[in-house]
């Protein structure tokens, strides 16, 4: 469904991503794990078009989207929940959700998606007229996820969705990712919480300073000695 080939990304003179390739198949949950600064966020930004790679290709459903600007990629069926949530803090919850459906034309379908999202996140419906900046961190994460789902994506990229949340919300977030995956949406997940990420992922890639050093099925990686030592704290 999504294949990234020989990706190379520079920030000025610094090469942040060095020859990274990976595949995401339809319906999978794929985790990218790695330490701070390994390049996980950079990869997501390049896939969704916010950053331009200096080399390599991003192919989405057979289409080369490497040079397509981010705002056009959304309507191709890809949504991105950015790191730090980045909800529009001065707009209401409902206005945020509607912006998530910015590229959709059919109002009726949009209302249906909205209903579905309220069903999944009842708290968003309770607070639909509240200014998003006044929500708690966990609620903002729900909003960021709901907003991304409003575009009705076939693949959703999630960047550190559990970061800075209380343990209860962390559980909740991973449960929601599982639910999203269960409805057939493909998930590409970036997480520092490697243990949690590996428990819900089908496959995973381990990233170190811009390179993929390890890849495989999630449960196998979980038992890998080097992964245990470096990322699972065992």
């Amino acid at each position: 469904m999504l294949s990234v080939k020989n990706l190379e990304v520079h920030y000025g003179m610094i090469k942040a991503i060095k020859d990274v390739s990976f595949e995401v198949n339809q319906g999978e949950v794929i985790a990218l794990i790695g330490a701070n600064g390994a390049g996980k966020t950079t990869i997501l930004h390049t896939v969704s078009g916010l950053l331009q790679p200096s080399r390599g290709q991003v192919i989405f459903e057979g289409k080369d989207i490497t040079r397509i600007p981010a705002h056009k990629i959304v309507s191709l069926g890809m949504a991105h929940v950015p790191e730090g949530r980045r909800v529009f803090s001065q707009l209401t919850v409902l206005e945020n959700l509607k912006l998530g459906a910015y590229t959709r034309k059919d109002k009726g379908e949009m209302e249906e998606t909205l209903k579905m999202i309220y069903g999944r996140f009842p708290r968003l419906e309770e607070r639909k007229n509240q200014i998003a900046g006044t929500l708690s961190g966990g609620e903002q994460q729900m909003l960021a996820m709901g907003r991304a789902l409003m575009s009705h994506p076939r693949i959703i990229l999630m960047d550190e969705p559990s970061m800075g949340l209380s343990p209860i919300f962390v559980e909740e977030v991973f449960k929601i990712i599982r639910d999203i995956s269960a409805t057939g949406t493909t998930v590409l997940l970036v997480e520092q919480n490697a243990k949690k990420a590996l428990t819900i992922a089908d496959r995973a890639y381990v990233l170190e300073t811009g390179n993929i050093t390890l890849e495989g099925e999630a449960d196998k990686l979980m038992n890998d000695e080097s992964v245990k030592k470096a990322y699972l704290g065992e």
């Binding site: 916010l50 600007p69 730090g84 909800v87 529009f88 707009l91 912006l99």
Partner: protein, 294 residues
């Protein structure tokens, strides 16, 4: 008392013009995070368009104003494309200097095309004056139209931003360009739209300004531009209601100081008030700082 009332009404009218110009500054600042110091000169271009199309082409006022709005809209979009867009990732200082350069360019282009002579501007407004309090208070047609137009623009713009998709996209871009892009918002298109709206409003402001104060030369837009910028900062730059409040207050303060203190000192008083407000509340009257929740 009746003269006070007249000064007040005239102040509100002048303030309405400042408010309309200030909207252009504040919207562009909110969305592109830059100060477009050429904005005042777009007013002048709009006024010349009306002057020429009524004088030389003999167009009726309504058509002349429409033409000026169209020309200024195109001018605003063009300035953004040519001068500012290539600097999207440059330092704010480079953009600021460019804006000042564009301002000088417009003034000198006007000198070249229209000459340095001050022209007498014929008011586009032919509404009769209203007499109140047995003729002691006179409200001219220009004053009435200016205030009404300002109110209509304020309401229209607020509805546009609150109710339309494009308006919501503007708010999204002004808060977080990257996140807006991830929603599918075309950020460059939104910035263009903002310049278009700001410049169209500048044309309207120019017509109102020259109808009330009927002289026109290539520097006509410069001082009102600076005053309106002050009004935008005064009200809280980036805030649309702030531009409105700042503009009206500035107009009232300016007119009352002209009437009761000194007409020479009025500008000094206006800018002193600005300094005091900024000392007490650096974000302006209605400005807010976005606090980020981590």
């Amino acid at each position: 008392m009746s003269s006070f009332f007249t000064f007040l009404i005239n102040g509100i009218s002048l303030g309405s013009i400042y408010a309309i110009i200030a909207l252009g500054y504040t919207m562009v600042y909110g969305i592109a995070k830059m100060l477009n110091f050429a904005h005042g000169d777009v007013i002048m271009v709009g006024s010349y368009m009306v002057f020429l199309s009524m004088g030389s082409l003999g167009l009726p006022p309504v058509l002349a104003v429409l033409l000026a709005v169209v020309v200024c809209t195109v001018l605003g979009i063009t300035i953004e494309k040519i001068a500012y867009k290539p600097l999207r990732k440059a330092s704010p200082l480079a953009v600021l200097i460019t804006a000042i350069g564009v301002s000088y360019f417009l003034q000198n282009a006007a000198l070249l095309f229209f000459g340095a002579n001050t022209k007498m501007f014929t008011s586009v407004i032919s509404l009769p004056a209203i007499s109140l309090a047995e003729g002691q208070i006179n409200i001219t047609g220009e004053t009435q139209v200016t205030i009404i137009v300002c109110i209509i623009i304020m309401i229209g713009l607020s509805l546009f931003i609150k109710k339309t998709k494009a308006g919501q996209a503007m708010l999204a871009v002004s808060e977080d360009k990257g996140a807006a892009e991830l929603m599918g918002v075309n950020v460059n298109g939104t910035i263009s739209l903002t310049f278009a709206i700001g410049s169209a409003l500048a044309a309207v402001a120019g017509v109102l300004l020259c109808s009330t104060y009927p002289t026109l030369n290539p520097y006509t837009g410069s001082m009102p531009g600076i005053k309106a910028f002050t009004a935008a900062v005064f009200g809280g730059i980036g805030s649309i209601p702030g531009a409105f409040v700042g503009g009206i207050l500035l107009g009232i303060i300016e007119n009352l100081s002209k009437a009761y203190i000194s007409s020479q000192l009025s500008d000094a008083i206006v800018f002193s008030v600005l300094i005091i407000v900024l000392l007490v509340k650096p974000t302006g009257i209605l400005g807010t700082k976005i606090s980020e929740k981590v």
